[in-house]
Symmetry: C2
Subunit: 533 residues, 2 copies
Amino acid sequence: MTTWKDFADLKAVQRLAELARSPYNLARPDSLPPERIANYKASACGFDLLYAAQRIDDNVLAALQELADEAGLLAQFQAMKSGAVMNRIIGHASEERQVLHTASRDIFSDAPLAPAATAQAKEQLARLKSFLADVDSGAVCNEHGQPFTTMLQVGIGGSDLGPRALYVALEKYRLPGRKAAFIANVDPDDAAAVLASLDLSRTLVNVVSKSGTTLETRTNEELVRTALAKAGLNPLRHMVAVTGAGSLMDDPARYLAAFHMYDYIGGRYSATSMVGGVTLGFALGYDAFIEVLRGAHEMDKAAEQPDIRANLPLLMALLGIWNRNFLGCNTVAVLPYSQALLRFPAHLQQCDMESNGKQVSRTGTPVTWKTGPIVWGEPGTNGQHAFYQLLHQGTEIVPAEFIGFRRSQHGSDITVNGTTSQQKLAANMLAQSLALAQGREHENPNKHFAGNRPSLVLIAEQLTPYAMGALLALYEHRIAFQGFCWNINSFDQEGVQLGKLLADRLLGVMAGGKELSPDAPESSLLQAAGMAA
Amino acid sequence: MTTWKDFADLKAVQRLAELARSPYNLARPDSLPPERIANYKASACGFDLLYAAQRIDDNVLAALQELADEAGLLAQFQAMKSGAVMNRIIGHASEERQVLHTASRDIFSDAPLAPAATAQAKEQLARLKSFLADVDSGAVCNEHGQPFTTMLQVGIGGSDLGPRALYVALEKYRLPGRKAAFIANVDPDDAAAVLASLDLSRTLVNVVSKSGTTLETRTNEELVRTALAKAGLNPLRHMVAVTGAGSLMDDPARYLAAFHMYDYIGGRYSATSMVGGVTLGFALGYDAFIEVLRGAHEMDKAAEQPDIRANLPLLMALLGIWNRNFLGCNTVAVLPYSQALLRFPAHLQQCDMESNGKQVSRTGTPVTWKTGPIVWGEPGTNGQHAFYQLLHQGTEIVPAEFIGFRRSQHGSDITVNGTTSQQKLAANMLAQSLALAQGREHENPNKHFAGNRPSLVLIAEQLTPYAMGALLALYEHRIAFQGFCWNINSFDQEGVQLGKLLADRLLGVMAGGKELSPDAPESSLLQAAGMAA
């Protein structure tokens, strides 16, 4: 196994700290000459990464390469893809699991890196293909012999955010007469509003929970079963499950079909497993889902490049570390210039912050360096008319990641003032990157822009299933590379446990089954909130 | 006029800096005794604010009161509501405008604070009432005499985010057969997807732009007009406008009706003017919109309380300043435990970050203190399964603002394990607040929670139009009070101008009308992005 080194002990970290005393000044005149813009560009899987507007130069890039090499980032990545137990804390009880989301799309070669996991993925894909063929043919249909038109995914966290982000991104590619809907939150208003908008008689419900015991999902499943029963529908004709083999939900007496998910794929990395596959396959077609897998798989391979300047995920990881640990930025804004990517920042929030919002190293010692930043964002030109004020003139520096496309999905566009809407969209994105970098001198201090604010641009031809798969994997690996570099376990989530435990205690009190001292904060808080029994 | 003092010059700021050397430790055993939880509670307009889980004690509260008094926050607030020119930078060219969003709802008393503005608001409301009555009666109808069912709002920034957030929050209260839709982004895919989902023959289009010249809105209006024409529909029967009196859009030859908005209400504060009123009135009914105004107005009055412990917006403003300027937190997470508030964080991002993401004081000098934080968030239990990991165990401290309700909107709920979904939702919210504050000792360092992370809870009975109005105004005034305290102009947005200017330059090149030196960054960037002509 690769030796894991603490971030603070790396020689390259010292070198970078020295370089960070005088980082590249983007606001200097001529800071963006043509050769810099042309050279600071990397490409993979149809995406171009333009990073001239980062506060770096060739010396910083060389030191970041040293960092990658010294920390053994690629070796760790290969170990992960090959089935090493990367989800662990040495010397303490931990999940002790493999991390094999890449295996779920390593289905295109004859020699997959983790053959057993890929064989399981292929088996589930074959079952999905056959099930979807039965839906298409009408062999699977409702009580009246009518075809299903809607799949309602019931899940939360990783069983919701990734699949939903992908579905929203790719809605344009829906099969005729097919759509998907989602219920996640335990908020009864959410479920009620979604259920009210659907024709339940034509809906397949897809309940997703690895353990089969997730509180929110179980509650929402009951709500949906009640609604089906009220509508005189037989749940057994309408319910499928995605769950762990042998879980409470892996039960043919309760579900039309149960597809399997595995312990070696964490929730937030599971969009390319059956967790995303069943709903995306239903709504977009099996072939479109395979295109998502192909895009992700090709990015998985592109992430093996040892030269950081040719490796998009690794380069983005290292630029992020430069901004986070050396320039002191504690947030990252992800700003897609594509309304279809509306929910992609929410997926990234989970994937990044749940992975790298950690306080102990993989040897169980408290970290003495900063780990994962706060990730936030909204689609582009909306944001321009909103929070960009702070990006340009606020007292915080926010590294921005712009994502855009040269062509629209729908192709219905209009020319106003000599340019199409899609051209306006891309022009705005590039203009923001320039404005953040260069700023503007002005005699009126309120119209002065200091500039020197870093950003990068990711641009591809069109947001297709393939591109979406590649983009998903690009960010997954950026996150994993950062976690490897910070020497933290990016694959567990112990930090979400305490809240669950306290919620259970409060619910015990509310249900009347549990007595608490009146002096306990739980009692006082329920009282103050007007929620005491 | 009140004298405006620089934040750094306030005596209370020195006092608070001293107190910040040993802030209250929420993770100490017994840090949350019953009397603290009961005492650190304030109420207004049906909302309870629980703030025991802030890192404060009575000394800090006293110093925050001094800060409010010394900076004259209430006097400035009253001046704002009474029509003082608060949107200005002294000694430099600036917008020089009144700030009178409160006048748009000061319609319930006989002696409004800004009578002329309130008279204009009442006039527009009367016109809206009459127009909506014509829609109800069928006097306004489509080419075939059918009633309109949908209003499509075309706007961007403040003409979109606030009205959309309110509509999503209050969809439960829609009139039978009525709904709203929104197009904002210049992304042609967004417009295409929205238009494809509507029956245009039954749709009224509401174009919102104060100047009548906003690029995105103009482009989207053209797109919609083209779609109407293609569907054989007469735009004059389908288009209304909300715009400045005398603007290009204030044109009876092009719109069925034009409602007016005024320079003294900024976009991000305009949801309670006709900018929100026309669409909300159409979809929810005129009376429901008046209820929104009533809630907002009552919060406007509650914000006049001189005792900070009885003034919700002022107290939240000061607690935010404590966290921002004295405890060093540069972000705020707004976490509604209500799916209906899905878009409220996006509205707040605009309202807060565009208002207070500023670098110069109201006398035109660069600030030497931190101004507006980064505001971000997602609905509650979804977030718990996502980014809460970082909130609990990350290396950044994120003050959290929880918003919840005791009763659901829909009232359709289900009991599982002895509690309803709504109870689970509220219990989870309170549990998170406790977990952040108290943390947990654990021998396994990965299961250890340091705690001592501040949060507050806002809770009300139910998310009604009245409650939504009050919540909107609560945050508007929190933002204004903070801006007053930081001595910045919260009501302009010069920081969004440079990006627009550079986008125009790039579009000029793309349209072929403008020549740039091949060495200009604009040219190289277009080339690198594969967007050069």
